[in-house]
């Protein structure tokens, strides 16, 4: 193992090409992972911010905010389910917002709420909103009065909150009446009555799992009838994935990441197989003087791990610089957990790739050191 490290130190040129190739792949992996996380976090902020265990949709809504309607009698049934401690309504309207001093419309998600999400204060007065930080990039400032939708409903921004967006659109957190006003004025085809919300968020007392609580709620509302009050309840994780395109987006990116990791395995396997082939006489001599296959292969594996680690460090620097200079509209989020997991999987791929050399190392005959290989 010490010998393998010395070779890396004294003959770095032999490993340069493999390291650079893996560095390109590592930066690609981190960039793709950053985009995946950026898109996911940017899409699901409004859900993730909710201090809720279960999200309750109308049973015919196909778990869509925009299609879902929850009427008061359903809400009352949900409230009485064993283990439920709090129930709050949510409503959502996607509109263009005219920002003072800007010619372009900002994409906005107007969200009416009753129970404050994490980091969001109590619902503001009618006609006011807490705006997500994302809207700052659109030129929005505290005190601005935004004109929402084609009906140009005015809403004044009274402060900013962080990481609460919906499908990459800047959230405007308002009290339910303001949401209904925006919805009904801009979507007359989908009006909502004063006591109706789109989705309920439910907090439990912790005695049941989120899945059990969701099942209890659906069981309790089933008797109200399909389309007449029956519900489809989801855990928070399920609600995040039920957002349009989120599941497909995750699957697509994960497949690309998987293929890229497979390419890492292939490159490490090919590179170290070639290196091992070149080292056959040396390994033959080392086996002759008492090196075991395990010792020789451990050296190959250590070199693969060091090369992968160096490549990852280089890739991480490239992505860090890229993230710092990327335009604000690029949804790139470099998450610490993702960086660590990418490194771990990259190293595992390198180890896996190096295993391709194991068979060859095993087969090296020490007798060939003196030309007597059988």
């Amino acid at each position: 193992m010490r010998m393998a490290l010395r070779e890396l130190r004294r003959r770095p040129g032999r490993f340069t090409m493999a390291t650079l190739t893996l560095a390109v792949l590592a930066s690609l992996l981190l960039f793709l992972a950053g985009l995946l996380d950026g898109l996911y976090l940017g899409s699901t902020g409004a859900i993730r911010a909710q201090q809720a265990d279960v999200f309750v949709y109308g049973d015919t809504s196909r778990d869509s905010f925009l299609r879902s309607r929850i009427e008061p009698h359903t809400r009352e049934v949900v409230r009485q389910v064993a283990g439920v401690t709090a129930v709050g309504g949510l409503g959502l309207a996607l509109v263009g917002a005219a920002v003072p001093g800007s010619d372009d419309l900002a994409d906005a998600a107007v969200i009416g709420y009753e129970l404050p999400p994490r980091g969001v204060p109590e619902p503001p007065a009618p006609g006011q909103a807490w705006a997500d930080d994302r809207l700052r990039a659109e030129g929005v400032s505290v005190g601005d009065v935004l004109q929402l939708g084609t009906a140009r409903i005015p809403v004044e921004v009274i402060g900013f909150v962080d990481d609460t967006n919906y499908l990459l659109q800047g959230a405007l957190w308002v009290e339910p009446g303001t949401w209904r006003a925006v919805q009904n004025a801009n979507r007359p085809d989908a009006r909502v009555a004063d006591d109706i919300v789109q989705v309920l968020i439910v907090r439990g007392d912790g005695t049941a799992s989120d899945e059990e609580l969701a099942a209890r709620i659906d069981a309790a509302t089933a008797s109200l009838g399909t389309g007449s009050g029956a519900t489809s309840s989801l855990t928070k994780a399920e609600a995040e994935l039920s957002l349009p395109g989120t599941r497909e987006q995750n699957a697509t990116f994960n497949q690309i990441l998987g293929v890229t990791f497979a390419v890492v395995v292939l490159i490490v396997a090919l590179y170290f197989a070639l290196l091992t082939l070149e080292r056959v006489p040396l390994y033959g001599m080392l086996k002759a003087v008492g090196a075991s296959t395990r010792q020789l292969f451990a050296g190959v594996m250590v070199q693969a791990i060091v090369v992968a680690t160096a490549a990852f460090a280089m890739g991480a620097v490239v992505v860090a610089v890229g993230a710092a200079t990327a335009p604000a509209e690029l949804p790139l989020a470099v998450e610490q957990g993702r960086v660590v997991s990418t490194y771990v999987v990259l190293v595992l791929c390198a180890v896996l790739g190096s295993l391709a050399s194991l068979r060859r190392v095993v087969r090296i005959d020490p007798a060939q050191a003196i030309g007597g290989g059988s």
């Binding site: 010490r2 010998m3 010395r6 070779e7 004294r10 003959r11 006489p281 040396l282 033959g284 001599m285 080392l286 086996k287 002759a288 003087v289 008492g290 090196a291 075991s292 010792q295 020490p366 007798a367 050191a369 003196i370 030309g371 007597g372 059988s374």
Partner: protein, 225 residues
């Protein structure tokens, strides 16, 4: 005291049936401590096979092989690896040293393979290199050494594990006559001074007079002279 190397009626056959080739036929050879045996023969005569069997690199097809008194005829590959690491020293003709390790590190490698690395190892490596006239070359890579110096480092490495038996595969073939004679003098001094047994394959009849005895091998059959 046990004999460092004993071969009794050793035969090695490669292949089987019609394609069988007998590389070594009923070879019997004993090499005592402080004894230096030159093994001479034409190409393909079985010299390398004999050396490989003696060093635990190959299994004999039949016969008994004892190294340091221990019968290795039926040893497992792992036991043979341990034997080579702990009991036998090798000096090869071609690839001898690890090119990216210094002269000292090439010697320390022997102890590293045994899971040992201590100040004593380093002292022993430096002492061996000093005895072989390489004290000023301990930190040099093989590529920075002359052919004779490289061969001396290889000899020092072969002595690093304090072996009972050292096997030399044409140690002077890449050297000119003068350097070859110096190396043979050195080998002889080490064999006698350390009480080890040595078998030296050589094509060069001029070098055989350094040996205590010469064994000729033709078509796998030994003839002592």
């Amino acid at each position: 005291m046990t004999t460092p190397l004993e071969l009794r009626d050793v035969t090695k056959v490669y292949g089987s049936g019609d394609t069988a080739v007998t590389a070594l036929a009923h070879a019997t050879l004993s090499v005592a401590a402080e004894e230096m045996v030159a093994l001479v023969g034409p190409s393909g005569s079985g010299k390398t096979t004999l050396l490989s069997i003696a060093g635990g690199l190959l299994h004999a097809t039949s016969g008994e092989v004892r190294v340091g008194g221990r019968d290795i005829s039926a040893a497992t590959p792992r036991q043979l690896t341990d034997l080579r690491r702990d009991t036998v020293g090798f000096v090869f003709q071609a690839v001898n040293l690890v090119p990216f390790l210094t002269a000292r590190e090439n010697l320390l490698l022997v102890d590293e393979l045994r899971g040992r690395r201590s100040k004593a190892s380093r002292q022993r490596a430096d002492q061996l290199l000093g005895e072989l006239g390489l004290a000023y070359r301990t930190g040099n890579l093989p590529g920075q050494l002359s052919g004779g110096e490289r061969q001396r480092v290889a000899i020092a490495r072969a002595l690093m594990n304090e072996p009972r038996l050292v096997l030399f595969d044409e140690p002077t073939s890449a050297l000119d006559t003068q350097l070859g004679e110096q190396v043979m003098e050195l080998i002889k001094a080490e064999v006698k001074g350390r009480g080890i047994a040595a078998v030296i394959i050589t094509h060069d009849e001029r070098m055989t007079h350094y040996a205590d005895r010469t064994v000729h091998i033709v078509d796998g059959v030994l003839n002592a002279t």
